[in-house]
Structure formats: C-alpha cells, structure tokens
Assembly symmetry: C2
Homo-oligomer: 222 residues x 2
C-alpha cells in the first residue's frame, strides 16, 4: 500500500514536471531528458509510468478532467455550473491543469490528438444537460449535444483570452459571465433563479472534496 502510494506520487511528480516543461517550451521542443531532470526521477521510473513523450502528453491532458467527485446539487444545471467554475479555479491554481489545457490548445503538436480533452468535456457536459432535460430544468428547444459543444468551445476560448490578456487573473469572473449570458437560453427561468453562479463558489466547493488519488498523509514512511 505504501509502495502504491509512492508510485502514485512519483507519477504525479513526473506529470507535473512534464506539464511545466510543455508549458514553458511547447510540446514540440520539450525533451524527455529535461523532464527527467525537472522531476528528479530516474529514467527507469519515468519509463515505468510512461513509455513515450506522447504518453506523457496524454497523461497531462487527462489531468484537467480529474476533478474528484463534486457534491451533488439540487439541479443538474448547478452541477454543470460547478464543473465550469471549478475548472476555472483549478486553471488559476494548479500548474498541471494549466499545462493540460495549454497542450490541448497548442498548435504545431501535430502528432498529438488535441481533440481528446474536447471530446471528454463535451461528453461530460452533454450527460449533465441530458439529465437536466430529463428533470425538466431545460427549455424545450435546447439540444444537449449542441449546448455542450457551445459551452466547451466558449470556455476554452475565454480561458485562452484571459491567459493572453492577464495571465488568467480574471478567469473565474469571465467564466461566471459566460454562464450568466448563456444559461438564460438553456435553463427554465425558475431554475435559473436557483443557480449560484459566483466567482467564489469554486473555492468553497473544492474545500469539501478530497484530492483524487492523493496519497494518505504519512503513507510515504510506511
């Protein structure tokens, strides 16, 4: 068990090092040896977890999807709002998530499947919107697949613009604004009135969630 916790920790350090190097240099120019140096692990340890630079990149790209389980809400649309606000918050505070999104947006990494995170996010949002529709929260003309794609695309551009203009300092504010402008075209008015779409919500939510896969405190010595 201690060994497993240590393996998870090593994997996370490698991903974080890879994320940092991809973030600084771009995927194309990054080298495995630089990632090794940054992570402070042996070549053997790295190749035990990841067989190639591409696999490292896929691992980094998946990081943006691992939110852990957010607390269930009264409406599915609040859960959708929470996904957006929490991703915005994590983008501001977690280098691994930042690099994850950066990789998906980067041009010139031609060999990478940059569609992967888009597909995953669209699927996640579509599921929530479909459930919201089944529960009667959504206006009848709304197509969940269409709305999911709109939200995923708009989110990714707004975070990119926020990064370019101010290093994402105003990201939670901008994502709240996106949701406040788009949700009136999706939600029933009575549901809309129940939603909390504030810049500070994500921080409160995340305080209630355990990190996914985080090793137990003290497990390293065991």
């Amino acid at each position: 068990m201690a060994q497993q916790a240590r393996a998870i920790q090593t994997r996370q350090s490698i991903l974080l090092a890879a994320a940092t190097v991809f973030d600084e240099r771009g995927y194309g120019s990054a080298t495995i040896s630089e990632i090794l140096t940054r992570a402070g692990v042996t070549k053997g340890a790295l190749y035990f977890h990841f067989s190639s630079k591409e696999e490292l990149a896929l691992g980094v790209m998946e990081a943006q999807l691992e939110v852990g389980v957010l607390p269930p809400q009264l409406t599915k649309l609040q859960e959708l709002v929470d996904q957006g606000l929490v991703l915005a918050h994590r983008l501001r505070h977690e280098p691994l998530v930042r690099a994850s999104v950066g990789l998906a947006m980067a041009q010139g990494g031609g060999e990478l499947d940059r569609g992967l995170p888009f597909h995953s996010w669209i699927a996640r949002l579509e599921t929530l919107l479909t459930e919201a529709k089944q529960q009667g929260e959504v206006l009848s003309h709304v197509n969940p697949a269409e709305a999911a794609q709109l939200l995923a695309g708009a989110f990714s551009g707004i975070q990119e613009m926020s990064q370019v203009l101010c290093e994402r300092e105003d990201l939670e504010q901008r994502i709240s604004m996106l949701l406040r402008y788009v949700l009136p075209s999706i939600a029933l008015p009575a549901v809309l009135a129940m939603l909390e779409i504030t810049e500070t919500r994500a921080e409160r939510l995340l305080a209630t969630v355990k990190e996914p896969d985080a090793p137990e405190a003290g497990s390293e010595e065991g």
Copy 2:
C-alpha cells in the same frame, strides 16, 4: 500606380507564404529563408516590406481584422452578427486569415504580443455594442465592454474547437449557434426578432464587398 499595385501584391504573397509556414511549423520553428522560398521573392523584396520575422507575424495577425467595409444594416446588432459570420466564413476559406488566428492562439511564441488581435476584436465589438445601446437595441443591464470580451473569447474558442474536431468544416454553423444562444441575453426581443443569424449570410454579404487593397484586374501589365 502599376508599381504600387505590384508592391501590394508582393506584400500579400509574402504574408500568405509566411502565414502558410507559420501554420505548418508554428511561429517558433519557422524561418525567414523558408518563407522566402515559399513566396518566391528575393530577400531584398521581403526586407523592403518586413524587417523581421516578428513584423511578418504582426502583419499576418492583422489580416484577420481586414474585412473591408461590410454594408451598413438597419441595426447595429446585425452588423455585429455580420462581423462574426464573416470572420467564420473567411477562416474557412482564406489561409491567411486562418494563419492569422492560429498565430494569436499559438502557445510558445513567447516573444509575440498575442493580445493584439484580441484587443482589436474587443474594441471593434465594443464600439458596435455601444452604438447598439445608444440606439436602444440592447437590454439595459448589458455592459458593452463585458459583452464584447465574452463574444471575442467565446468565438476564438469555438473556432479552435471546430478546427481540432473537424478542420473548421462546421464553423459557420457553430458561430451561428453561439450568437443564437448569447444574443437573447443582449438584444431587446423586438430587435432579436429582426436579426438574420444564418450560416449562409456571410457568403452573400462578402459577394457585395470589394477585397480590401486588391489590385485592379489587369493593373499588373500597366
């Protein structure tokens, strides 16, 4: 005059070559000599128009803003819609515009001011929204600066997602959808009902507009 037309044409060929090379390799890996070869012009001709790779990149980035003058419309919000639909159409059909947006979105070109096109688009949309507000087309709570930023950011992400997922094949459809979901939070209902937000509008509009700076037909022999 013939000489001026030829100079404009040379400048456009150089920008198009630079755009193609930036698009294929990314800004960081592109070289001036490759752009020279692609454009089929002399080093002297290139440096007459652009003093550095950075200046080439700025020239390419500005290309997305040069729409020429679109016909004035009954409402300012229709003109705003037209800007979005026309950019979507040009992104699909003009390599120079595609590379222009690609450069602004690319990570790792650290030395480039990627904020330039965002700032220009935000300013253009904000002007239109402010005029729309003065003409009473816009709901009273709408802040033109805020809405302009939202639209610019959302547009850029949706075009990026469309590129990643399907080489922008569905871009005009996706941008129409963005406008149809967001404008009900911006426009007065009576104005909303007057807007044309269709996938085919841009093509019709552009047919009525002369290319900006296009040399007159036959001017090359003069």
